[in-house]
Amino acid sequence: MSPRRYLAALGVAAIMGFALVWAWIAAMPMAYLDPEYPAWRAKLELLRRCDLGDVLVVGDSRAAVDVMPALLPVRATNLAVGGGEAIEAYAALSRALACPVPPRRVVISVDAAHFTQPDLFWERSVRFGFLGVADLGELGQIARQTGDASFAAPQLSDGLPAALRARLYAWRFPPLFFNSLMRGGVGLRWWRNRETYAAVLEARGQYFFGKDAGSSTVAVEGHMRAFRPLPVLDRYFDRMLALLAARGIQADFIAMPMNRTTREAVRPAVRDSFSRYLAGYAERYPGFHVLGPVMPDWPDRYFGDAFSHLNPPGAARLSAGFGRCLRARLAGNAAIDCVTGDLVD
């Protein structure tokens, strides 16, 4: 074979191989993506169906784990996601509010750290398709307005410009998914991911991380030196509240509990700044209420991992109390602690 023909054959083989891999990656994400993907996919499916109920929960992973809609007295949906911040919450809300029957009440729960630093934005929110190219275009604009590029243009190891990376994720460009493909044994995660997907749909968005019988590890708040919200997250939080206010939907901020060890490690200045920050928004938006303490704590035995995610007994306990609170809120009675469900004097 002449070198020219050899090179042509090599090129054709490479293009065909690449096309095959790309087709698999684009069509079968459930077959190889990591085990959190089906939970996100289930939430997107609930949104697509507009099957949301009266109460919508948005926020971070603690909210995703701790609030079990199946145990609540009203029909609710948990759209909180791992590493979720105001950007993801805004995206979920804006889609939910486009549904023919929007939720009557929205519960927002984001811990203090998720106002101050990016978490799994590109690795989860974008990669899993929760945020699309349009969302990222909007983010780019807000980043320019606020001068905060911490989400829109971080220096990631792939060296890609953010706009291009957003499109490559949207197109499921194979190199960005290849690690998962290998780790997932090309298609070996299919069955387990399908099970998870069905379970999360059944649980109306709730899913667990750690299920240990207790954790005394200090979570992220215990390591924070100060509470300084990122401008871009602050802007998104404001947009979210403005959107809800414009639609006349009541919004409650309910902080999820952290373990007692973390609570003891939290600097008072961090807690006070976080509290003041939320109080400022409560003053600005009459339909927005901060219910209960901004950093509640529970005994360590209720936590399933190092990130202060509740374990199943903890989540059941919280959801029972949360259910009593919700019923009271929907009935116009505000005197219930939403984390414990106890009456407030």
Binding site: L10, V12, A13, D158
Partner: protein
């Protein structure tokens, strides 16, 4: 810019190659000029500021080389110029690489307290400095009569495939290729070059990177490693280093070949060596050659001449005496290999690595001089020698990678079982050592010890400068056939797809 990055594979290389094709039609100077411009862009991509350093280094060394050659029969002036050149090069190297560490050491021991911010290390400074030092030394010692053109000299120093992590080239092997070539693109060169590049890319992305998972957590907490985890960490690092660096060298050789140029071989199955002397002839061969040519040989020659002047013996019998051995073998070996260790960095671990290998080499030389008979050719004896050599190299690689001497000792203690016996690594990311990990390690050792090397696979097509001995499995020799095209086409897909999750080459830090 990394060879295994989208920007390199998808943008830089196609542009550089297309420009080279067009420039080649204009003429050799245009082609060389284009390659130089592309190489400078490649270097400046990471930090444009350091482009000035590279250009200044080229300009100063080229000027000094010219002055040395013009000094003709005035040896004192030539020596003065050479000394100035060496001082300038080593001064720059010391400033960026060693000064902060030395001052930190002095501060730590209360000897001197001079404030000095650790500067960012320019990529490849050790490589382009040594390349140019070799050129200056050759000018001084008459190996060069006329200075090459500035364009060819600059391209010799800055040609992007070898610029930041070698191989360390000698002007005699590259510049004549610039001068002779018609600078036309040859499909045969593209086929051979792209195949070598692909093999290197696969070594990096599919072999070196996946095996690295336990390395960082293991070396971060060596005191927690018991027997099996300590071995796993050390073995994984040893394999990672080999596949990473030899993969990089393959990629460099393949890239050069795309442009019709041949580089020297840099790795020749070093872990199959039957002695540490042989190991150094097979590992980072162009560094060893540089050290032999410009450091060891002049030292050994100087010592031999001094002994001869004093009426002392210089032959094999003289080497068999203790004094003769120390003077003629041990001293040049310890200085050369000790400096080879320090060349890698300012940490004490690198000095210890160099001294350990110097000790190995001295023992090896002594054994050759005093052993009772020739080495056995029996298979079992050869396997024993390979394993003994590899064990020595493995201990050295622990020193090479450890953050400090105490960490290295801790890991070696773990390998000796002094931290007990357990299977789990201290970091959850590294998980436990399962059957798959064992199989994977075994597979990699099978490649290292039994598979043909890249050069052996490509042997029929003169892949690099120098002779390549035939390897095992002759049927694995590459030929431009449909089967190879399909296999390498699929391998190209794997290599390119792996780019998203890979990291920097280990040798960039040197």
């Amino acid at each position: 810019m990394l060879f295994n990055s989208y920007i390199f594979v998808g943008v830089f290389l196609p542009l550089a190659f297309a420009g080279f094709c067009l420039a080649g039609r204009i003429g050799p100077r245009a082609a060389a000029g284009w390659l130089l411009a592309a190489s400078l862009a490649f270097y400046g991509w990471w930090n444009p500021g350091f482009l000035l350093l590279l250009l200044a280094s080229i300009a100063v060394n080229y000027t000094i080389a010219g002055l040395i050659l013009r000094a003709g029969a005035r040896p004192r002036l030539r020596d003065a110029l050479l000394t100035a050149g060496i001082a300038g090069n080593l001064g720059a190297l010391a400033w960026y690489k060693y000064l902060a560490a030395v001052l930190g050491f002095l501060r730590l021991h209360g000897i001197a307290d001079v404030a000095f911010a650790d500067p960012i290390l320019p990529l490849g400074i050790s490589f382009f400095t040594f390349t140019q030092l070799g050129y200056l030394l050759d000018c001084r010692h008459g190996a060069l009569r006329d200075r090459h053109s500035l364009l060819h000299y600059a391209l010799f120093v800055a040609f992007f495939p070898h610029l930041i992590a070698g191989p360390i080239l000698h002007h005699r092997e590259l510049i004549p290729q610039f001068e002779r070539r018609a600078w036309r693109v040859d499909p045969q060169d593209i086929a051979v070059g792209s195949t070598i590049f692909l093999i290197g890319l696969l070594k990096k992305t599919l072999l070196a990177d996946p095996i690295s998972a336990p390395v960082a957590p293991g070396f971060a907490h060596p005191e927690l490693l018991s027997l099996f985890p300590a071995w796993r960490v050390a073995l994984s690092y040893s394999l990672q280093l080999y596949f990473d660096f030899s993969g990089y060298s393959d990629m460099a050789i393949g890239l050069a070949r795309l442009f019709g140029l041949r580089f020297p071989v840099n790795f020749n199955a070093p872990y199959r060596s039957e002695s540490v002397i042989e190991y150094w002839q097979r590992w980072h061969m162009t560094l060893t050659r540089w050290l032999m040519l410009y450091l060891y040989n002049p030292l050994a020659l100087g010592i031999t001449r001094r002994r001869a002047a004093r009426g002392l013996g210089t032959g094999i019998e003289a080497r068999r005496t203790l004094r003769g051995f120390i003077e003629m073998i041990a001293v040049p070996t310890v200085i050369t290999i000790g400096l080879a260790g320090v060349w890698h960095g300012s940490a004490l671990t690198f000095a210890a690595f160099g001294l350990l290998h110097a000790a190995y080499l001295c023992v090896n030389h002594a054994w050759r001089l005093w052993r009772p008979g020739p080495p056995s050719a029996a298979r079992r004896a050869r396997v024993g020698r390979v394993l003994l050599t590899y064990g020595c190299v493995l201990a050295g690689s622990v020193l090479f990678r450890a953050a400090d001497l105490s960490g290295a000792m801790q890991l070696l203690a773990g390998m000796l079982g002094l931290h007990g016996v357990a299977v789990a690594l201290p970091d959850a990311r590294a998980a436990t050592w399962g059957a798959l990990d064992t199989l994977w390690l075994a597979g990699l050792y099978a490649l290292v010890w039994f598979a043909p090397t890249t050069q052996q696979i490509m042997r029929a097509h003169a892949p690099a400068l120098g002779r390549v001995i035939a390897g095992p499995f002759p049927r694995l020799q590459w030929q431009p056939t449909l089967g190879w095209a399909v296999v390498l086409g699929c391998a190209a897909v794997l290599g390119l797809l792996s780019i998203g999750g890979t990291g920097e080459f280990l040798y960039f830090q040197f």
